[in-house]
């Protein structure tokens, strides 16, 4: 009876880690709660990354008070593109990518945007509109342009790598990509797809769309399985460097490959999801056993 309730057999047989085990065995002992803000607040994360010279999008400005908005925006005006983010936003809310068009006017999603609208957006970030009512900071940073390598698989949106590290060792990785159905988002539960990674060889494996595995991205014919990943060595190196820089021992590190600058750290997560096991068809416990 008990073994049915508590699923003893299946847990032991497979190396899969569930939410309970992730929390008790991986997060609680490795990630002290007082250090969570280092990962949850993008400004704090980037301060540490800059300090250790780990490649990431250049920070153009951080705005804490409404009175600083005008000044900060003035200092950013000479860039050709910027990303504006709330430091503590959740679920990608409040992120605006601004680009200059040929005439030198700022556009957002192809439409003209006035300075006034930009100020309004920044003010609402500061007032906590995207972080559930608490005061927040605006982060203005370099806009990353995806490496053309990804165009062959799927040309739209920004795909990113997720690397899980435990005690500074990369355990498992996946490449997340948007699809026609995912509205530019690369998250698995928002209809994006995950592609497994052979960590030793640095090659892509099968594509998982949340239900089935295949060798292709659902919206293209490019053979994904077996494709070597560009900059794989660098990706692993900056993952390890990031893991060493933070006092957090179990991390999900998100990395994007920039067209010009190569792999860049996007953000880090203290509670990385478990779907990566499905994408790689491997339980995390299995991988941890091998790593030790």
């Amino acid at each position: 009876m008990f073994s049915i309730i508590f699923n003893k057999k299946s847990t032991v047989a497979s190396g899969v880690i569930g939410l309970n085990e992730r929390n008790i065995k991986l997060i609680y002992p490795n990630n002290p709660k007082r250090h969570y803000p280092l990962a949850d607040d993008k400004v704090l994360t980037k301060e540490i990354l800059h300090q250790y010279h780990i490649p990431c999008a250049e920070t153009y400005a951080v705005i804490e008070y409404n009175s600083d908005i005008k000044e900060a925006w003035k200092s950013c005006k000479h860039y050709s593109s910027v990303a504006i983010k709330p430091a503590n936003g959740c679920g990608g809310g409040g992120i605006k990518i601004l680009k200059k068009n040929k005439k030198g006017n700022w556009t957002c999603n192809g439409e003209m945007i006035t300075d006034r609208e930009v100020f309004q957006h920044m003010a609402s970030i500061i007032m906590g509109f995207f972080s559930l009512g608490s005061h927040d900071r605006v982060l203005i940073e370099e806009c990353i342009e995806p490496h053309p390598f990804f165009y062959e698989i799927y040309p739209q949106g920004v795909p990113d790598f997720r690397i899980i590290t435990l005690n500074k060792t990369p355990l498992m990785g996946m490449l997340r990509m948007p699809t026609d159905r995912s509205d530019g988002k690369a998250n698995l539960h928002q209809n994006g797809v995950g592609i497994g990674i052979d960590m030793k060889e640095g090659r892509l494996l099968e594509v998982y769309d949340g239900k089935e595995y295949s060798n292709h991205h659902p919206d293209s014919t490019f053979l994904v399985n077996g494709t070597p990943i560009p900059y794989w060595k660098e990706i692993l190196e900056i993952s390890v460097a990031t893991a060493k820089a933070f006092p957090l021992n179990y991390l999900g590190i998100d990395i994007v490959i920039d067209k010009n600058k190569g792999p860049q750290i996007m953000e880090i997560n203290v509670r990385p999801g478990l779907g990566i096991q499905l994408v790689n068809k491997t339980g995390l416990k299995e991988v941890i056993k091998q790593a030790i």
Binding site: I5, F6, N7, K8, S10, T11, A13, S14, G15, V16, G18, L19, N20, E21, I24, K25, C90, G91, S124, M127, G128, F129, L132, G133, Y213, L274, Q277, L278, K281, T282, G283
Partner: protein, 525 residues
């Protein structure tokens, strides 16, 4: 490591102590198991005062007897020594208590006390009734006040029977007709015909009319007399009707709208068109029925003192001394159980809910509102809030003022609905009392927060899972014995702490993860 083993030892010791303490009480409690399971227990006291005149004086009243839904015990009669007392069984199986005196011009007092334990009873009413046997013939005959052969009665009865398909519909029509007559506290005797004529009656007039109509149509019927027992003193008795349906006397109260149902606090005293108290004419006489609710544990044959004397520790004094209102005490006792249940559902089953205690609290408010109507109100209101807050979302308002808007809307809707419900007599709309409103408000806030954090689809999914957890909590919390069990065995709280500790260390896969990781688990096999 050391502190871990220390904690383990401490928890084991606590559990053992708790189990021993529970074990000590189990035997006496099982020995005193009461399969009658009364819902309500009252101490009832008839108090009579009278002055005898220049002749022999007597005072008569009906006394109750036990049956399948009421139990009478601890009968105690106190009267002054000049009164002689007899108890007599009459026709109709009524039991009469009679006090006589030959003393002239003296004051007398009588205290007739007993304990009444009652439970409600629903009767199933078949569509077609068998024809009653000859021995019930007298319940078809007209009497002076129940003029079932009267022309007016006959006309009305025929009219009520028109267009009916079966016996149950006939009875239903009679019931509804009599129920619709406005009630009035008429003290003078109202017979069946007068009730129709003045279209206004007390329980007595209504009952007489009901019986007359039933008898006219060939259904044996009689009046039943008793008292609606409440935690107060009163002077009114009550009358309702019984119709013989397939050898069972089925109760109908067309004043209080009980169709084939007798509530737990109806004390049955006599059958027939009688008055509860009769006395020699022309004497000075006064009376009250003193009634007091007695705390009890439905499944125990023990009285308060015996429960106090149980070995070990119980919370009986909190109930007995009215330290905390019973409802609040029950909530306090059930919260840990409900919390543990939700912990189980979250960590072992893998349900995602709004908070830990919210499903329990919602389940608790469902106990007030009723399950179906409660869930309907709950989902309806939250969906409504979602719709209302949508345009405000578009406006780009800050979070806190937006929550204030949705909550204000909700409060207004609740008030309007209650107003509408009261006006149009829609009972389920009026059930939102203070406690459920608070819970609803908190849930609505959590829901609107979730729509922001996770988006509408995920929030609705979470709401759905919360409702599943709520329904499971409701199933367990609505078990009427549970609060009493917890009053008798407060040690359960210790066990819950011990169990939660082991649940907190549980690292197995959740049930929903079995589905999520199915491809992986399958591959391993």
């Amino acid at each position: 490591m050391n502190s871990k083993t220390n904690l383990k030892i401490a928890l084991t010791i606590i559990s053992i102590i708790a189990i021993i303490a529970i074990g000590l009480k189990i035997k006496p409690i099982l020995d005193n198991y009461d399969n009658f399971n009364p819902e309500k227990v009252y101490k009832v006291n008839y108090k009579f005062f009278f002055k005898s005149e220049d002749k022999n004086t007597s005072l008569k009243t009906y006394t109750p007897s036990s049956n399948s839904r009421q139990r009478i015990s601890n009968e105690n009669i106190k009267n002054d020594s000049t009164l002689s007392f007899v108890k007599k069984k009459e026709i109709d199986e009524n039991i009469r208590a009679i006090w006589n005196t030959v003393e002239r011009n003296t004051y007398h007092s009588v205290d007739y006390e007993f304990v009444f334990e009652g439970k409600d009873k629903h009767f199933r009413i078949p569509k077609v009734f068998n024809i009653a046997s000859g021995k019930y013939r007298k319940y078809l005959k007209p009497t002076e006040d129940i003029q079932s052969d009267n022309e007016i009665i006959n006309e009305l009865a025929t009219q009520l029977r028109q267009n009916t398909k079966n016996d149950r519909e006939v009875i239903k029509n009679i019931f509804e007709y009599v129920y619709a007559i406005p009630s009035a506290p008429i003290i003078t005797l109202t017979d069946a015909v007068t009730t129709i004529e003045q279209n206004r009656a007390s329980c007595n007039g209504k009952s007489r009319l009901f019986v007359a109509l039933s008898r006219n149509l060939g259904y044996p019927a009689r009046i039943k007399g008793g008292i609606i027992v409440e935690n107060t003193d009163k002077r009114t008795s009550h009358a309702w009707v019984e119709v013989l349906i397939n050898e069972t006397w089925v109760p109908f109260d067309a004043l209080n709208n009980h169709f084939g149902f007798l509530p737990a606090n109806y004390l049955e005293l006599y059958r027939g068109d009688k008055s509860l108290i009769t006395h020699t004419a022309g004497i000075q006489f006064d009376y009250t029925y003193k009634m007091e609710q007695v705390h009890h544990i439905s499944f125990l044959k023990m009285n308060s003192e015996e429960i106090y004397n149980l070995p070990g520790f119980s919370l009986w004094h909190l109930i007995d001394k009215n330290v905390i209102p019973t409802g609040a005490l029950h909530l306090l006792l059930l919260l840990p159980i409900g919390g543990f249940l939700v912990a189980f559902l979250r960590n072992i089953v893998g349900l995602k809910t709004f908070g830990v205690f919210l499903p329990v609290l919602i389940a608790f408010s469902l106990l007030h509102t009723g399950f179906i109507s409660g869930i309907a109100i709950f989902v309806g209101l939250i969906m409504f809030i979602g719709l209302i807050s949508y345009p405000f979302d578009k406006l780009g308002l800050l979070y806190t003022p937006k929550v204030v808007i949705s909550l204000t809307t909700m409060v207004s809707v609740i008030l309007l609905a209650t107003h509408f419900g009261v006006k149009n007599n829609i009972e389920w709309l009026t059930k939102l009392t203070f406690f459920p409103i608070i819970i609803l408000t908190i849930s609505a806030e959590r829901f609107s927060r979730s729509t922001l954090e996770d988006g509408y689809i995920k929030a609705i999914d979470k709401l759905f899972q919360t409702l599943i957890a709520t329904s499971i909590s409701y199933l367990i919390l609505s078990w009427s014995w549970l609060p009493s069990v917890l009053v008798l065995f407060p040690e359960v709280a210790l066990l819950i702490i011990a169990l939660s500790t082991s649940l907190g260390r549980y690292i197995g896969i959740r049930w929903v993860e079995l589905f999520r990781f199915k491809p992986l688990l399958k591959a391993e096999k």
